[in-house]
Subunit: 288 residues, 2 copies
DNA sequence: TTATAATCATAGAAATTATCTATCGATAAA
DNA sequence: TTTATCGATAGATAATTTCTATGATTATAA
C-alpha cells in the first residue's frame, strides 16, 4: 500500500468526488479512478460506494481512513524531526575530553546557541577518546595533540601550559614561578601514566634528566587538588584548570623556564564533518 | 516517501548490510542502494553511514526508524481490520421497517456493496419491530423515534414529515399546503392505531384539540393510496413515501403550520454491533 | 419525456520509475 | 601483496503510472 495511494484515497475521502479530488491532486480523473481501484483490489474490499448520485465511504473505507491519517501524520513527523536535525534544533553530540575544564565555557556557549542538542561529555584519557571515535561511541574529542590515526582529523585549539598547585602553607606558595628542577624532591600527586598530562610531565623531566617523586596517582583533577589542599604533596595541573581554582588553601604557581607546553586540539572522524552537528561544534570551538 | 522505500529502509536497518538486506527483500543490491539513496535525497539527510567496514544508522536514520515502525504497524492493522470484514461476503440480515419506502435506495446500494448478504425486510409497526429485535427474530429496525428499551441502541437518521394524499378531483388538490385544522372534517383513510405514523397524527391533533374523521383503517400504504385514488377520503403519508407516488389520480400536499415531524432512526440490539454485518449496515445507512 | 450535463469507468499510448546485469573502486582479511 | 567482500555506477530492460480519448450511466433542465 504505497503512500501515494493513501494520499489519493484521502483526497477522495475528503471530496467524496473523484473529479474534484483528481484536480486537487493535480492528476487526471481516470488515473485517480484506476489507482483507487488498484488499492481496492490490494485490500480485497471496496473503499467507496459509487453511484451516479453520490460517492460514499464503505465500512472498509472508514477503517482505512483512520489508519491513513495516522500514517500520513507519522511521516510528517519524521520529516519534521529530520529537518530539525539538519537545522541544529535537535540531535545528540557525544564528546570525549581529557578534562572537562578544557571546554566548559565553550560548552555553555554552544548549548545556549543550540539548546535542542543533547550534549554528553565524558572525561577520558586521550587513547580512550580515540578508541571511542573509531568505534563510533563518540562524535568528537578534545584532547592533547599530537595523536595519530589515519581515520581521524585534527584541529589545533590552543597551547596548554602547566601550573603547580600546592598547599598555601608550603614554602613554594609565595614563589611567582617554579622551575621544573625545583619539583625533583617535592612529593607529588599525579595522574596515572596512561594520561597524557602525566606523559607530558614525565617527558619534560626526562629531557632535563630529573627524577620526580610521585607519592600518589589519582585519575581526577578534583581529588588531586584535594590532596594538595591537605598538603599531601604538590599537584601539576593544566593552566586552564588552575585558573578555575578558588580555594585559598592552595597556591597556583606557573611552571616556567622552560615551560612544558602541550597542544590541545579537536579530533573527529574524517567524514564526520558531513554531520551538521559535528561541523557546527568544530566551527564553534575553533572560533571560541 | 513511498511505503516500499520504508520497507527497504527497515530491511537495511535490521541487517546493517546492503547485500543481505537486498537478498531478504528479493531485489538486487544495486537497486536497494539506489532506492535508499533516493530516500536520503528526499529527506535531505543521510540515513546510513557506510564505510567499507560497516554500515550504521545516522541520527536521521534513528529518527526515521521509529516512525517507520509505527507506519508499517498502522498499515498492518488497517489490512487486518479490513480482512475481518470479509465475513460480510455472506450472511443474512433481517430488517424490520415502518414502511419500506424509508430505506429502498439505501437498501439497493447496500445490496450492490455486499451482494452475498441475504436481506429480509418486513414491514411492521414500531412495536412489532421492537419485539422482533428483543426476541432475536430481527437484526435491525428502521422506525420512528423515540422508542425506549434498555436493551436496544438507537441512531437517528433523518426527520420525517407528513403529507396529505387526496383525489385530484377534491377541492384541496390544488392547495400548496394544508393545515392540520383543515383535516378536521375531511374523511380520512388511516393506519390502525398501533402504527406509530397514526399515533403521530393523533397526537398532533390532540395538541391542537382537533377531532379527526377516520372512515377506514388499513395497514398498508398501498391500499390507503388506492382509497385516496378512489376518493374514499384523504390519506396521510410519510413525505418520503409521498415522493414515490406517481399516479395522477392523487395530489400530494405537504402538511404545514405546524408540520408534524417525526424522527426516523435505526434500532438494534446493544451488543449487535459486534456482528460485522449489522455494524456494516448501520454505518452504511448513517453515511447514506 | 427528451436533451444536456456531469460523473466515473475503460482502453490504448506515452512517460516515468524501478529493476536488472555487468562492472568498478574501495576496504578489510589472508 | 593478493584476494574477497561490499557498496556504487552505468546502461538496458521491465513494470507501472499517467495521459488522452471515449463510453456508459445517472442526474438535471427544458
Amino acid at each position: 500500500m504505497e503512500h501515494r495511494l493513501l494520499e489519493y484515497f484521502l483526497a477522495v475521502s475528503e471530496e467524496l468526488h473523484f473529479t474534484r479530488a483528481a484536480e486537487k491532486l493535480g492528476i487526471s480523473q481516470p488515473t485517480l479512478s484506476h489507482q483507487i481501484r488498484l488499492l481496492e483490489h490490494e485490500l480485497g474490499a471496496p473503499l467507496f460506494y459509487r453511484s451516479g448520485k453520490k460517492t460514499i465511504l464503505t465500512q472498509a473505507g472508514q477503517i482505512l481512513l483512520g489508519h491513513a491519517h495516522r500514517v500520513i501524520n507519522e511521516i510528517k513527523l519524521a520529516r519534521q524531526e529530520i529537518n530539525e536535525l539538519s537545522g541544529l534544533q535537535r540531535g545528540k553530540l557525544r564528546i570525549g575530553c581529557s578534562g572537562n575544564h578544557l571546554l566548559t565555557d565553550a560548552l555553555v556557549a554552544f548549548h545556549r546557541l543550540y539548546p535542542g542538542i543533547e550534549l554528553t561529555v565524558t572525561e577520558l584519557a586521550t587513547e580512550e577518546t580515540r578508541d571511542g571515535l573509531l568505534h563510533n561511541q563518540l562524535d568528537v574529542g578534545v584532547v592533547f595533540l599530537p595523536l595519530f590515526d589515519e581515520q581521524l582529523a585534527y584541529r589545533p585549539l590552543y597551547d596548554e601550559e602547566l601550573v603547580l598547585a600546592i598547599s598555601s602553607s608550603h614554602e613554594y606558595a609565595t614563589c611567582s614561578n617554579i622551575k621544573i628542577q625545583q619539583l625533583a624532591n617535592l612529593p607529588l600527586v599525579l595522574f596515572p601514566q596512561k594520561f597524557l598530562v602525566r606523559q607530558m610531565i614525565d617527558s619534560a623531566c626526562a629531557e632535563l634528566e630529573i627524577q620526580l617523586n610521585p607519592v600518589m596517582e589519582l585519575s581526577t583533577l578534583e581529588s588531586q587538588l584535594h590532596m594538595a589542599e591537605q598538603n599531601v604533596g604538590g599537584t601539576i595541573l593544566p593552566k586552564s584548570y588552575g585558573k578555575t581554582v578558588v580555594s585559598d588553601k592552595v597556591a597556583i604557581i606557573p611552571l616556567a623556564d622552560p615551560a612544558p607546553r602541550k597542544k590541545v586540539g579537536l579530533v573527529y572522524g574524517k567524514e564526520s564533518l558531513e554531520s551538521s552537528i559535528i561541523s557546527a561544534f568544530v566551527d564553534h570551538l575553533i572560533s571560541f
